[in-house]
């Protein structure tokens, strides 16, 4: 499955999940998680929230949507 990763304020990426298979499953490959998806676009789960249909999804959950929105956590009010 190809997933569109829309990093708001930055770039929209097209990620092929087949290329993201991670080691650990019985066949040596586990289903890619949203954290894996973030890793593919050089983002850490610590700095963003991943939304599917306007709601956040746990980073350790397998990807089950072909379209995700990534919002960067911003703390600044410019002290």
């Amino acid at each position: 499955m190809r997933v569109t990763v829309d990093v708001k304020g930055e770039t929209t990426h097209e990620i092929d999940l087949e290329e993201l298979g991670t080691a650990g499953g019985s066949d040596g490959r586990a289903e890619p998680t949203y954290a894996d998806l973030l890793g593919a676009v050089d983002l850490s789960p610590h700095e963003v929230s991943v939304l599917v249909d306007g709601r956040p999804v746990p980073e350790d959950q397998p990807v089950d949507s072909d379209e995700v929105t990534v919002l960067r956590l911003i703390k600044g009010g410019s002290a």
Binding site: S44, H46, S49, R55, I74, G76, S78, A79
Partner: protein
Amino acid sequence: MTDLRLDATQLDRYSRHVIMDEVGPEGQKRLLEGSVLVVGAGGLGSPAIQYLAAAGVGRIGIVDDDVVERSNLQRQIVHGDGDVGRPKVDSAADYVAALNPDVDVETNELRLTADNVGNLVADYDVVLDASDNFATRYLLNDHCVLTETPLSHGAIYRFEGQVTTFTNERTGEDDPPCYRCIFPEAPEPGTVPDCATTGVLGVLPGTVGCIQATEVVKYLLGKGDPLEGRLLMYDAMDMSFEEVPVRPNPDCPVCGDDPEIESVSDVAYEGTCEISAD
């Protein structure tokens, strides 16, 4: 509202409001009788305070425990060169006093905590989050959700801004999202940079703070559609705005179907602002 009369000076000062059907003398009276607590008198707080005061919002509370530094002056436009070293709340209060004598400013030179947030927020109609740290943002969100206090949220980073409104009006049907619905927990300390380390375009907080002030004025007037369920993203470099739809999260720890947070004392407002183990 018992007396809709504005005096001659007020009719003159607010004439561009009063002439509009959407405001009129009644709306202006609402503003004069309205109150807002601005948390943070820095980049976002400065323009917000300016426009709220100019609009005639009658009571403005300001919370900030910081003093003015010269490096603030590139963007924090209620403070001047002569204010360097002064508490920001005092400098901001002086600015408002010079701008509009109709406005009462209540200064709170302190940091918002779980112990004082209740007393600080209690007497205000609406809260404007212009803070610069996650602990304050999560604390304000949780308290405002639990007390159903409307909250304007703004945040900035380099050339980008995020702004939205959490009305916190909950009836059990089509309830709105809160900050934790979008960002359930704060990031680990040190993982997200701040303006001091990455820089910020000086005019950026002006744009975002003005949008927050707009939302507060609309709320006090009871007019227009709030920026609710929509996170407005502003990119100053592209000069573009984008709305990101956000929905209430049934798993939200504070406003979800089975909330874990029933009091701000349930949360350690440090680190990731997660629920305390005890």
